[in-house]
Symmetry: C3
Subunit: 430 residues, 3 copies
């Protein structure tokens, strides 16, 4: 549980030192309970809204003929994530973790308050659940426009119920990576790279969209159909990220916690600002013109990059980390195109590439410098391998049993008609 | 006032039992005041955003020729609700309720703090006001595309100033239903069914849209024009519902309150997840294909269903309650179509059908089991009759005095041109 | 810093009077620290979302051929504002202000907690930063569709790094206007009028869009391309305004602060409601029909008008202030059109006209009556002159060095193609 209890004790000690000048200066135990719980809830509802952010981003970047389907996939995956995380995910991730996996017993939440508790268990569960959904939201963008609804939803069940929680137990559940000292504050690797690896594996197995590559291998741009929608999605993700990173402090019950969350907010914001500006400048340098999608992905890359260590960076370090994330993503997007990986929204470049960068940055002296680079690499590689292997098994099994792709004709007509029998914008001529 | 004061006293007693192990462990009176007030404000701003959720949902499900008008109706009804609830609504609902109605004296808010207060009266007012607006937002969706602007706005004044507050006084104002033990935590009946009954009455009196039914009575589907917009609306409603249900705990000033709100958040979320998945599965079973609008309405139905008792359910019970809501709504939507009730967005099926279900569920042993089924039925029926009768009087009076429907020609051109002289999407060919 | 420390002391004294009936009744120093900090963060993330509100409003009111560009301008200006406010803006505004300007030394934030602190410095910075971005968001709307990307972004750097912080230091930094008693609670003048003056200066220097005025000077309406988007923008701005005004109380660490914020929320909401309804009624009286854009701008005008004094008004006064704001804006929009000032979204009428009105209203007996009318005028005029002069220098310098407008051909094609080489809605026929 990200070692909340240990941290609370440390912080309690610290805050006693600071605020004991006057009588009754400190935060009472019950007041801290309320603060901690409310922090989980407020930051949790912000993260919940990220599901809408991903929906808008993806709905804006697909073609109109696949727009209703991508909306459906996104609301459905969020719902399946909630149910799976309740049924087995939370148990696998946090319940009696033996180093490598927890116990999948049905989660039986405590709803009563005990004086030993520092926060409501339910509020913590809510906060963890919305993280689980985020990982799957990343996948849906990359493989949009060419995967059938049912295998997609089954994979969502598998990722949110099995893959995400098991690897999550290694660090946040107190497992072997946690014991080694792997450091990933809010999940550059544990959430974003996991989504990115699963997306990459899917993109490789499913293959590119019809028409993405010409007969001689030339790359064809397939423009997104609704760029204001993609912009809305980016802003909502940015907004939700204050919850994603801020809430990962896991406590608000002391001045030290409140100050730490404030630092996280500022660093999160600055990394996004710098990622956007870096992508803007780089794209102008490279192509003479800029492109709205590069700029939006630059902001998201900055957010992903800072997510591993927003607590220990200074604002200036956060800007550097975010800017490098924005640059790497801006370079990765055309590179993936070139090597034949068709990522509809750029999610692999944003979440995997910048996620790896952010996780490494935690151990770079002069940036964060708070982790060990070898341990960070072990964490990145082991979580990556695990996710790729299990995702690969999942995708191949679904391919064999059910099939992943619609027929060529169905893909050309668009999934909205072929899968849902409807049109996202029936009155707008396409 | 949902018996806040009684509850605060009970909880204060409880929390003393729990947290008195150490000196100064409890929440001080002034700290509790701040927590309670801030809970009203944070949860209130979430509910306020539901007005945007309804706007997006409705704007996405009408045709482009009526889109600007539905946007205007929604922002205007929220504003009128605020003014009416200030001028007379709050008084009718909460001021010296004699069992059946309060006193309509202009609300004269206390702005100073008294040590006997547990929260800011203004913050409570803000939270109650946004609930009032919600009820009217439900109406606008059902009767969209075929009612003129002025009678719609006059009905909004009547519903938010008279109908909603008077029936609200019976339960939340401490009136006769409250004394009988009618249980409706956040308003499955008091908010959602009231909106649904008023919408149903309006739909019957106004009649279906031109073209909805063919010459031989066959039902014609009229697809919504912008499904990403409808998806955004659903997500924002879901987001706002954490405020709607969570804030209805009416206090955050103790560990017990914080834990209760956390339970409410989890149950709210799980009911929506299950409602969505149930509607998804059922629609595939019934029609071989699913439909995005069924799925969205399934989530909303889950939310409406859990609203009467999110505090007493377990997450598993919440999922069952939500799933049944999703199923009932998925069955009700085509049924209403068949019997000649034209509900543009499915609001009657979502808010009335699932609202009744949720209010009953509170009294079903094994689900919530915390209420009395007879009392619940009395509440549902009496509030329903009152709303239908007053709404009917309102609609008929408006029809007689002003007329409700535009001319056939105006309806065919669309209300945006005929009422506003503008086009919601002037550059997109229709 | 809006005299936070003085206020905290006053409030602490007050709250001691109120809550000392029982032992340990008051808020402990550390608890107050957490409340104050969390208020900055929660209200700050609300204000951050206003950047999305402006983006949607502007993207909905421009033509499709300029939509991607206005999205890009808005995300980029928010990012540049963050970076500039970090590098020099915060220093100029709050660091050792000598009456007229602060010190531009790189901001070196305190991240540790000291028992003398009442709140996290970082959280305050976050809250101030998002205000700075708001001022520039106002400018982008007025001069949309006819200014090139690069000079726009350079002006954004200049406004957010120099103009906004220097004039801000005069009041909120404790400078000469603050000492005179100029009263502007959350920035009717300091944020909204500053944006409005810079927008007006830009509109005059850049000139109207091609086609706005006919050969004989007749005014041509250029309708916005996506009115649901404009409606979403308005609602999000309204939502964010609870943070803008509520957070400007700058403290939540006492019952008195919590009650004050609740008053601010209610007044903010009521002013918007009344502004909307006033604009609705006036537009019907003037033109027989209403127009969605008038109504949306009416709500925004109400919000701008109450921003100077939401703490001291009663709800009834707030409604009057908001309604007058809505009326003035509804009259100003066609007037500006007539005198040749082409304001794409009506931002000058909303933010400058209603901003001046709101700042004056603070000193009108019977409305707020808490300020001195002469001082208010001095503040409005001095900040206006300063902003006009510096903005004028900036715009003229950019015009001379780089050029402000695209070529006539580029403007006709649209900035999306000519500047970005892309189309915001490539599949929707224009």
């Amino acid at each position: 549980m990200k070692n909340l209890i240990k941290k609370v004790l440390v912080i309690a000690g610290f805050s006693c030192l600071v605020f004991t000048g006057t009588a009754n200066a400190e935060v009472s135990a019950e007041t801290a309970y309320v603060f901690n719980t409310f922090s989980f809830l407020v930051h949790g509802f912000l993260v919940m809204l990220m599901a809408l952010g991903f929906t808008c981003l993806e709905a804006g970047l697909v073609r109109t003929k696949n727009t209703a389907t991508i909306c459906l996939k996104n609301v459905a995956l969020y719902s399946l994530a909630g149910i799976m995380f309740y049924l087995i995910g939370y148990g696998l991730m946090y319940n009696d973790v033996n180093g490598y996996i927890g116990s999948a017993a049905l989660w039986n939440p405590e709803t009563t308050v005990d004086s030993g508790d520092g926060y409501s268990k339910m509020s913590d569960w809510f906060f963890q659940m919305v993280f689980c959904a985020t990982a799957m939201s990343i996948v849906s963008g990359t493989i949009a426009e060419r995967i059938k609804l049912v295998p997609f939803l089954i994979f969502a069940i598998f990722l949110t119920g099995i893959i995400y929680p098991i690897q999550g137990s290694w660090t946040w559940g107190g497992g072997w990576l946690s014991e080694m000292g792997f450091s990933d504050f809010a999940g550059s690797t544990i959430v974003h790279s996991v989504g990115g690896w699963a997306a990459l594996t899917g993109a490789l197995i499913i293959g590119p969209r019809i028409g993405k590559y010409g007969p001689n291998g030339q790359v064809n741009a397939i423009p997104g159909s609704n760029l204001p929608l993609a912009t809305i999605g980016t802003f909502i993700l940015w907004f939700g990220w204050f919850g994603f990173n801020g809430g990962s402090q896991l406590a608000l019950g002391s001045a030290a916690d409140a100050a730490a969350i404030a630092n996280v907010y500022v660093n999160t914001n600055m990394a996004a600002c710098a990622g956007l500006v870096a992508a803007l400048i780089l794209s102008i340098l490279l192509y003479k013109k800029t492109d709205l999608t590069f700029v939006l992905n630059g902001a998201l890359a900055g957010l992903v990059a800072i997510t591993a260590g927003p607590d220990v960076a200074t604002p200036l370090q956060a800007m550097i980390i975010g800017a490098i994330g924005g640059i790497l993503t801006t370079l990765a997007i055309p590179l993936l195109d070139k090597i034949g990986i068709d990522d509809v929204v750029g999610a692999i470049s944003v979440h995997l590439v910048s996620g790896i960068w952010g996780t490494l940055a935690v151990a770079i002296p002069g940036l964060n410098g708070s982790g060990d680079i070898g341990t960070q690499i072990i964490g990145i590689v082991s979580i990556g391998l695990f996710t790729v292997i299990l995702s690969g098994i999942g995708w191949f099994a679904l391919k064999a049993i059910y099939g992943l792709r619609p027929s060529e004709e169905e893909e050309n007509i668009g999934l909205d008609i072929s899968e849902l029998g409807m049109d996202a914008y029936p009155e707008f001529k396409n």
